[in-house]
Amino acid sequence: MTTASDVLSAVQSAFPGAVLESRVESDRRLWATIDSNSIVDVCKHLSEKLNFDHYSGAAGVDWIARKEMEVVEIMASHGAHQVVAMLKSKTPRENPSVKSLANLFWNANWYEREIWEMFGINFEGHPGLYPLLLGDELVGVWPWRKDFKGYPDLTTGQRAVERPTSEGYTEYFIPPTPAEIEAGTVPKEKPKYPSFREREEKEIKSDSEMIMHMGPQHAMLPGPFLLDILIEGERVHKAFLDMGYIHKGIEKIMENRTWLQGLTYTDRMCYVASLSNNECYCGAIEKILGLEVPLRAQYIRVILEELSRIQSHLIGTGEFMTLIAGVGYAPWNFMIIDRESIISLIESVTGARLTHTFVRFGGVRNDLPEGFSDKCRSALKYIESRTKEYIELFEQDPIYHMRMENVGVLSPDRAKRVGISGPPLRATGVAYDMRKEDPILVYPDLDFKVVTGTRGDSADRIDVRLREILESIHIIEQCLDRIPAGPIKTETKVPKKIPAGEAYYRVEDPRGEMGMYVISDGGDKPYRVKVRGPVYATLQTLPPLLEGVYIADAVAIAGSMDGCPSEADR
């Protein structure tokens, strides 16, 4: 079994002098600062020789006191080993620039675009540094830098100046804040780049092609994002995706809240998976503190996270049914009715339907109520029978199969390469699940199998979700049998100021791999929280997947991905 120290020694022997600093946190985590000139070579070596075939994301950090910026590349493997390598490369704060990995890993594109628009770190050799989340007017002010003067901004709405465009649409111009003007941080020269509209119009090659907008408000979309498809007749030639319509700047806000206050924001990143998000944030902080979570609290967490997974899959599948079957409103209504029984179960423990803030550092907020176990078992029995019915229904319906089979097929290799995770990846047959891969809490003791598909098409993605519900029910039943009595919080008092340190923690969100990279500088607020969400990767995969399909299939493919733009935009 490859461990982190094996990887470190392999890199050190292959590139003498390239590793400037290194820390082996555990068998599964490697932290290394790599010489910024050789970062591309090291990453190439890792992916080709050492099985690091999963480029998981990148984070930018602004070290204003040290006058330098850092780009942290997160590298992992699809099951060959469990090591996650966090490779940092440093660059001076004046004209920051690092080498791009976008030519090496396809999915590095979006992560680097995000870092560029938020920190102003230039990526040499990147195919197109365009803003992704921010509106045009905010590009060039680099909002996630520590010296950004536009935060807090309490007058955004009052400053908005309405102006009609030549096409008759309403547009708004929001001038910079007085603080920004006074500090002189308003950029005099904005970066030059073609707008989203110009970029997509450049792709029109003949008169018979046109662009069709799906969004930002569209029946298909679970939240606002813009999917533009370039069509000729019934065929989609190319797809373009624009997001950031609900970019709230959660990562910036969390830097300005205390550690515990930050927890409420994790709820609101993806509101149907808020317990997993809580778990991810708390887990990272527990790792920094070295806290041991009591066994009972671990079981409670697992029970609730799996319940949350069930309700998320139900709403995701239900939404998808409304999309492919116009009048197929019935399955949606049935699934929402089933979901309500789970929601009321979660509500009886946490007191909230969606935004729980339930998981706490070193435990949970409160114990399970009396009689929870019986109520849970009866509800699960009902859900189990219903889910089996749905699976049977989908299996037997010939129209559904004709509509969904071999639509939006991802091959295992391609799915790995594009960095997708969760049910869409497992539908291709790759058994990649954080609960097995990077086990947390009591998951190693539990008996469950990773559900996989065979074809990797839209039908399989739905099938995997439904069968995962059954697997989750199995997990919860085991937990209910085994849950011990005892405390639900650690004995150790959690300090207000978290000691300096950093941690990367991964959980299996209902939608895929969710990771949080938390840095503390010893203060009462996080220095930086980077969220590596699963939907970001899913949405990035969507445009190439839509090339060459029919327009009607575009909806079936996008719906089967179960994207949640709120989490992607953050």
Binding site: Y172, Q217, I336, R353
Partner: protein
């Protein structure tokens, strides 16, 4: 314009008819008049109440999830809470809707979009702000990308606090809106 100008009747009849009134308006004006005049009369008379009765019982809302409240809006529109019994239904295009539910944070980038959606809706239309974010920015009030004063851009009739509000509160908001329409106390004055 009198009736004698159009139909050859004795002037005496014309004079007699010009004395007749309906809701304080000369009858002749109602007979030979423009749509605006008819609207004016509808405004004054009890016919408006019948109109508003119909409007209040068919408030279709725009399915436009924006945040956590959007998920509760899904549930509110589905079977468990069954908003259809109040004549309220989710619709997917702004051209078929009467009510816009602002169900989350409005960002800089989304403000023009949502304004366009609002402008695409046909009259009569109403607006409901659901959740803290739609009222004041909620937990994201100090972000660089969030609009705090939604009420300056949209004539919001009902504000529903909560983060997110329960689907029952959606129902209450809807019934408040219906009561407002019935009493002609809504912002746009239908």
């Amino acid at each position: 314009m009198g009736i004698s100008d159009v139909i050859p009747v004795p002037v005496a009849v014309d004079e007699e008819i010009s004395k007749w009134t309906i809701f304080g308006q000369p009858v002749a004006d109602v007979w030979f008049t423009t749509t605006e005049k008819i609207h004016q009369i509808i405004e004054m008379g009890p016919i408006k109440n019948i109109f508003n009765w119909g409007r209040k019982n068919s408030v279709y809302f725009l399915m436009q999830p924006m945040g956590c409240c959007g998920v509760e809006m899904f549930v509110f529109g589905a079977a468990p809470y069954d908003c259809t019994r109040f004549g309220c239904m989710p619709r997917n295009t702004p051209r078929q809707t009467d009510v816009m539910i602002i169900s989350g944070y409005i960002t800089r980038k989304y403000l023009p979009v949502i304004k366009n959606l609002w402008e695409q809706m046909v009259e009569p239309k109403w607006c409901v702000a659901i959740g803290e974010c739609a009222i004041s920015g909620g937990p994201f009030y100090d972000s660089y990308n969030i609009i705090q004063n939604t009420a300056d851009y949209f004539p919001i009739d009902v504000f529903v606090p909560g983060c997110p509000p329960r689907p029952e509160q959606f129902l209450e908001a809807l019934m408040n809106l219906q009561e407002k329409i019935k009493q002609r106390k809504d912002k746009r004055g239908y």
